[in-house]
Amino acid sequence: MKLTIRDINPQSSSRTLRLAKPTIDLDTAPYAITLLRVSLGLLCLAHGCLKVFTFTLPGTAQFFASVGLPGFMAYPVAIAEGLGGLLLLAGIYSRWVALALFPILFVATFKVHGASGWLFTNEGGGWEFPALFAIATLVQFLLGDGAFALTSRLMPKR
């Protein structure tokens, strides 16, 4: 056994080590991340299914056109929501999936719900809910997978 003892270099050590006190509780944080991931996954999957089965894709395309978005975007958006939701639920590259979903919700906030005002109970639905949803995807991007995610199973760290 060989011991190497070094000064802690504040530039090279990770931010967690530099902080005098940890800012997150590592015992519970992974489960909080999982809760967010599963919630986002179910919501995205539900919205994807809604577009495909309830509104149908041509119906969604019509709706997109009615709010001033290109109608053909309904197809990739529905696929992205469905697939993104499943990947988030499984915890496969949650970070990048969440980042990929952000533009959809960002556009939804401004283009779809922007005109309905702020309160989410407004006629047509105000933008506060999609805004929170969009921010939640960014939060998920910063947090990563959390507990019970499959990324680590697929890509074992060596």
Binding site: M1, L3, T4, R6
Partner: protein, 58 residues
């Protein structure tokens, strides 16, 4: 080919840290008293200031 175990990088606070040398500790790399009955004694590592300690085997 067997893989070399990764060096263990620890960020340790100032103070005394007892490191396991017998290999019996369930709290590796720290001593948990499991060396009782073996010929090994834990290694006491005294640090005045917080340090980064890298443990490499062998």
């Amino acid at each position: 080919m067997a893989q070399q175990p990764k060096p263990l990088v620890l960020a340790l606070e100032a103070g005394t840290h007892w490191l396991c040398t017998c290999g019996q500790s369930t709290n590796a790399p720290y001593c948990d008293g499991s060396h009782k009955g073996t010929a090994f004694q834990p290694l006491a590592l005294e640090l005045d200031t917080p340090k980064e300690v890298i443990i490499t085997a062998p």
